[in-house]
């Protein structure tokens, strides 16, 4: 994994995924060490993303590394018309690793081809966000003790949600059974169903969240965004059908956990936050350990 860019969750094999998770566990035991002391990490955020950026920067800072970069394209030279290629080539002169978020899909793969240093994709439009997927897997394994044979309920925007698509790809390594719960307009795209068919994995599609959650090991909530609907009346009509409330948790498994990539808006009612089944804030913390593991593997500071 040393010197290899991480652009898509498919860049890592099952064994490599598990290796990242093991190492993330080590960082959780001892998150502050000096192993990045001589390293400069560039965080290039061509669109703002407070959460992901702070998580990466926290990961680097706790390991003693230095950070350079910008937080939105208005403060980068791309506003002067510099091409992505030129920005990446220049920044690779200044850093040992580039973490990049960009609104254009495929931009991260392209950056990894022109950069002289490895690139970590921190989200390229609706395409990929592999470090999110790895921290989701870390959170699932930590709470369920294993990734194998789980019932995974994924709720909300399954059409555009990149975290959902990458999670499906990754969990397919571990014989998961999927329940897809979404409005009709935001159903899981056909290509993912074909992918699961090919792998011989079971999945079910539901319109309603409340029926079957008693089976769930993990409920993965995502945001249903108003902008995704061509008809605003349709949005008003269905939006409440995809909100998780504390009274819905009564019949769920004792070990069940609720995950959410955040930011949450209203799809998880705040009365759920106090439940021990609510895991989304710890999930965000796990992102720091997971990113520490990924960065130190790519820089060859850990084997």
């Amino acid at each position: 994994m040393q010197n290899r860019s991480l652009i898509s969750i498919n860049d890592y094999s099952k064994e490599e995924i598990l290796h990242v998770l093991d190492l993330a566990g080590e960082f959780e035991q001892n998150p502050s060490r000096d192993i990045l002391k001589d390293k400069v990490i560039a965080t290039l955020f061509f669109e703002p993303s407070t959460r992901t950026r702070l998580s990466f920067e926290s990961a680097v800072n706790r390991l003693g590394g230095k950070i350079i970069g910008f937080t939105d394209s208005a403060s980068s030279s791309s506003i002067k018309g510099e091409s992505l290629k030129d920005t990446i080539k220049t920044v690779s002169n200044y850093s040992d690793l580039i973490v990049m978020r960009h609104p254009i899909e495929g931009s991260a793969r392209y950056a990894s081809e022109v950069a002289m240093v490895p690139v970590i994709n921190a989200g390229d439009g609706a395409n990929q966000h592999p470090t999110q997927t790895l921290l989701d897997l870390y959170s699932i394994r930590k709470t369920q003790e294993s990734l194998d044979n789980l019932n995974l309920f994924i709720v909300g925007d399954l059409k555009y949600g990149r975290t959902v698509h990458s999670l499906i790809m990754a969990m397919a390594h571990f014989n998961a059974t999927f329940w897809f719960i979404s409005p009709k307009d935001l159903r899981i795209p056909l290509e993912y169903k074909l992918f699961l068919d090919q792998r011989g994995l079971k999945y079910y599609e539901q319109r309603d969240i409340s029926d079957v959650v008693s089976e769930a090991d993990i409920i993965y909530m995502t945001r249903v965004q108003k902008e995704r609907f061509s008809d605003p009346i349709e949005y008003e009509r269905i939006k409440n059908a995809y909100v998780l409330k504390s009274n819905m948790l009564q019949d769920t498994r004792k070990t069940m956990k609720i995950l959410h990539p955040l930011p949450r808006v209203s799809e998880i009612s705040t009365d759920v936050d106090d439940s021990e089944k609510a895991y989304y804030f710890i999930q965000a913390l796990n992102g720091v350990y997971t990113r520490q593991a990924i960065i130190s593997l790519i820089l060859g500071l850990k084997n």
Partner: protein, 153 residues
Amino acid sequence: MEKNIKQLLVSAIKNGTVIDHIPANNLFSVINILGLYNIDNQITFGTNLESKKHGRKAIVKISDKFFVDDEINRIALAAPEAKLNIIRNYQVDEKRKVTVPDEFSGIVKCVNPKCITNNDEVKQKFRVISKKEVSLKCHYCEKITDQEHMVFI
């Protein structure tokens, strides 16, 4: 006899390559893909010719030009049924078919308007994930372009 008259519509060549059974509406894509607008060889073509198999077809004859497989297989996306006759001294010396390559760059636009290849000076690059009903996965944005949405550059 009728066959002879039809062949005369596109005159015979002494040496070179004849590409037959091109779908008529993709003739100019094939010309583009092979870069035929850019070479000095003598080229004759006919289009909207009747074909028993495909309705209307096109044919291209290029004098003194012999393609290597990698070069000619690039037209498989626009003309999957194309047949090549290699002509030497007015005789068909060899017949060849095209096969869809496993991966290629250029030729087709990625279907995703938000893909970097549609927004920056980055050349398209695809992996062929299905050859029967041709379906392409973009190397960059990972979206699928299927036959129905294929637009030739």
